[in-house]
Symmetry: C2
Subunit: 160 residues, 2 copies
DNA sequence: CTTTAATTGACAACATACTGTCAATTCGAC
DNA sequence: GTCGAATTGACAGTATGTTGTCAATTAAAG
């Protein structure tokens, strides 16, 4: 009856998949001392070509500085990250992985690859990519100021 | 490279769309005294053919009893909901909308329809539905015990 | 150089949702 | 009817993320 109906159904399914993904991610890396949120922080650091400060990581992840600050503080206390002086900014220290942090991230990635392959084994890559583009179009419509590949610090167009 | 890559990209996009939808929903219904979470609770109550208890609402929404309990308590205090005796269960009172709750929900729905239509105006309904099915397939893969129409109170295939 | 604006980290408070635990209640097996 | 399992609401604690506010620092304007 309304054009709103398919969109509404997709929105509700997005909420449910989000929750299912987070809990599945927590189960996947929980035994490594990680959570989904901590894993994402490590990913942002690993992906960046150079060391970043907290505010920079937050921008790359699409979160607030405060959320990242709390995670970083806890991960420093747990020995996964360390803070180093920033030659360009006395206040904004650089966030670096410790040896334990790198090991945990490598272990998480080793688990993630087969997990993701199993998750998509029954779905053609073309359909997966088509779904991703639909979600991207919706998100861009919601916040037009965002670029098309947020979370990606440098490769703005092609995350190749 | 790997079959994991398109799935991983879709997962990250799901996280971002989820956040964008929640903040957009909060902005849409904030002036009605609602939030995205409260709106969803009202929707679960409005959608059900009969009055539900807290645990039942939680199952329909895919949340925990505790999360719904807190929301319901606050919404009762705010006059949006009220609790009524359950003839079939002394402990599990039924959650009902007050007049104010029904008015707020109606106002939210009146806003949601044109908002959703605008959100999907550039996307063919077939693509939207295809994306929804991909997300559904992923979620079912993550939690095989879930039925295919969560949020539907009666179409349960009796996972008892 | 001085003033102003923007960025950054920190603290507080709040919103949402989770797990764990408990007693009360209902339901099923016997 | 009785007993044990399951359900339900409640409480406590934790995790994640938000907004608001502040001082320190950096960058820009004059």
């Amino acid at each position: 009856m309304s054009r709103a109906e398919p969109i509404t159904a997709l929105i509700l399914e997005t909420f449910r998949l989000n929750g299912a993904l987070l809990s599945a991610g927590d189960r996947l890396v929980g035994h490594l001392g990680l959570t989904s949120a901590r894993w994402q922080v490590l990913g942002a650091i690993a992906y960046a070509p150079q060391a970043l400060a907290i505010a920079h990581i937050a921008r790359n992840m699409g979160l607030t500085r405060q959320a990242v600050r709390r995670l970083v503080n806890e991960m420093v206390a747990d020995g996964l990250l360390r803070l180093a002086a920033n030659p360009h900014h006395r206040r904004a220290r650089l966030v670096l992985m410790t040896k334990a942090g790198r090991a945990a991230y490598a272990a998480a990635m080793a688990l993630q690859t087969p997990w993701a392959e199993a998750l998509g084994q029954d779905l053609p890559p073309a359909e997966i990519d088509a779904a991703r583009r639909v979600l991207l179009a919706m998100r861009v419509h919601l916040s037009p100021d965002n670029d098309t590949t947020p979370g990606d610090p440098d490769a703005l167009d092609e995350h190749a």
